[in-house]
Symmetry: C2
Subunit: 253 residues, 2 copies
């Protein structure tokens, strides 16, 4: 078994602890958390440490904390020449302290503590400095997921920005849809099948092929009617900008 220590107790750390509990190739030997009680529902309390100095020998240390703390925490680890990775989409592998062998173990998914996930379908993006370390990461990743990719720090930047568009911004559009429904006494439930089908469609069509609606059809009467209907300036601005963007794409694609 590959021995893993997790440094952190946030959403991603929690989901990793749950996923590795079922792994047949890797086991968690310790978890570092500033507050011991925040993880006792997930792992034996004698495996939880609150002091870096008692971190034991492991084959892999996974730092899963806020992006801006990765550099400092990696510098405080009391050992060297070990394999140390972070789980961040935005942070370069170089942010890790050079006293250890560096890498990235980035599961690309939206994690909420309140929502359980099937880890086996979550893509894990890996980066390492040498082949042996990559192989270790790959064995560990494949023991919890069926979708594992080598992704450089440069590629990871593109992925993370794209993820903001397809996840954060998309979810915000759901929120605007819900707000408009609420203001006009329409149950938001009616829109949910449309939301699921919008995502489902790109299993078989490209987003360009799947595009429909007044902007795509250049249906200026409907676009104007919608703009007249919206009273919120912010919603109007988003409507205009995205409509324009769809129309311009049509010209260049």
């Amino acid at each position: 078994m590959i021995k893993i220590s997790i440094i952190g107790s946030g959403n991603v750390a929690e989901h990793l602890i749950k996923a590795f509990a079922k792994s047949e190739k890797a086991e968690i030997v310790q978890v570092f958390s500033r507050k011991k009680e925040s993880l006792t529902h997930l792992i034996d309390s004698d495996k939880i440490v609150t002091d870096f100095s008692v971190l034991k020998e492991a084959d892999l240390y996974i730092i899963s904390i806020s992006d801006n703390a990765i550099s400092e925490v990696s510098g405080r680890l009391p050992f060297q020449n070990k394999l140390v990775v972070h789980t961040s989409g935005t942070t370069s592998v170089k942010a890790l302290d050079s006293k250890n062998r560096k890498g990235v173990f980035y599961p690309l998914q939206t994690f909420s503590k309140a929502k359980t996930l099937d880890f086996s379908v979550i893509p894990i993006c890996l980066e390492a400095e040498n082949e042996a370390d990559y192989n270790t990461l790959e064995t560990v990743a494949k023991s919890i997921s069926n979708v594992v990719f080598p992704i450089s720090s440069e590629q990871r930047k593109a992925l993370h920005v794209s993820a903001v568009f397809v996840n954060n911004f998309t979810n915000h559009l759901y929120q605007i849809g819900q707000k408009i429904c609420k203001e006009h006494n329409v149950p938001f439930e009616i829109l949910k099948p449309l939301i699921f089908e919008t995502a489902e469609k790109i299993k078989t069509l490209t987003p360009v092929e799947a595009q429909t609606g007044p902007a795509k059809r250049n249906d200026s009467a409907t676009i104007q009617a919608h703009l007249n209907y919206l009273t919120d300036e912010n919603q109007k601005n988003i409507y205009k900008l995205l409509t324009q963007s769809i129309q311009n794409n049509g010209k260049t694609l």
Copy 2:
């Protein structure tokens, strides 16, 4: 059996023809199409007519054509005091010619000819001028879908604008995500599980609860890094506007 005539041969008309083929309460007696050959793969060719004057007696006429043609076509129907409905999200029930009894039969979904759909989960929004006509529409709608709602023309406007946000604009965000991936040699496939989970999440969480990401966290370092990373002005503008909108929502909700 309730006898239905469909006027039109577009995406929605095609999906309705397929759905009613399995209905136990309603049957299609005729379909009007400008080109006979466009529907022969779906229905007996002797049921397809290309001339309004040969439209037979039916209990319900469903006009499923471009929004801007609804008014004119409803005026050309060679009968009166029949139940005539349209399938448009944006058009008022009043657009239909007053010589017949008016109504709306609006299936709220994104229809592509290339993609098959399970009609039973598609919400159908109904409107009629009197109870008897509403009951007819309800019987017909419930024979193909489990999700049927009475929705006024006013409410339908709100639904349609919301649908543009959660479907058209969301799909466009997928397209931007795909473009960014392509430009940086990252397979868009990696993002698909994230896209599906983004939609799945709102089965159990509200969009406000499901919101994550740098805008929600007010992580200005990541936001700035993303804006520096994007080279396309249009993508930068969308990123800024939606980030701002998420941040402002956080203040007001």
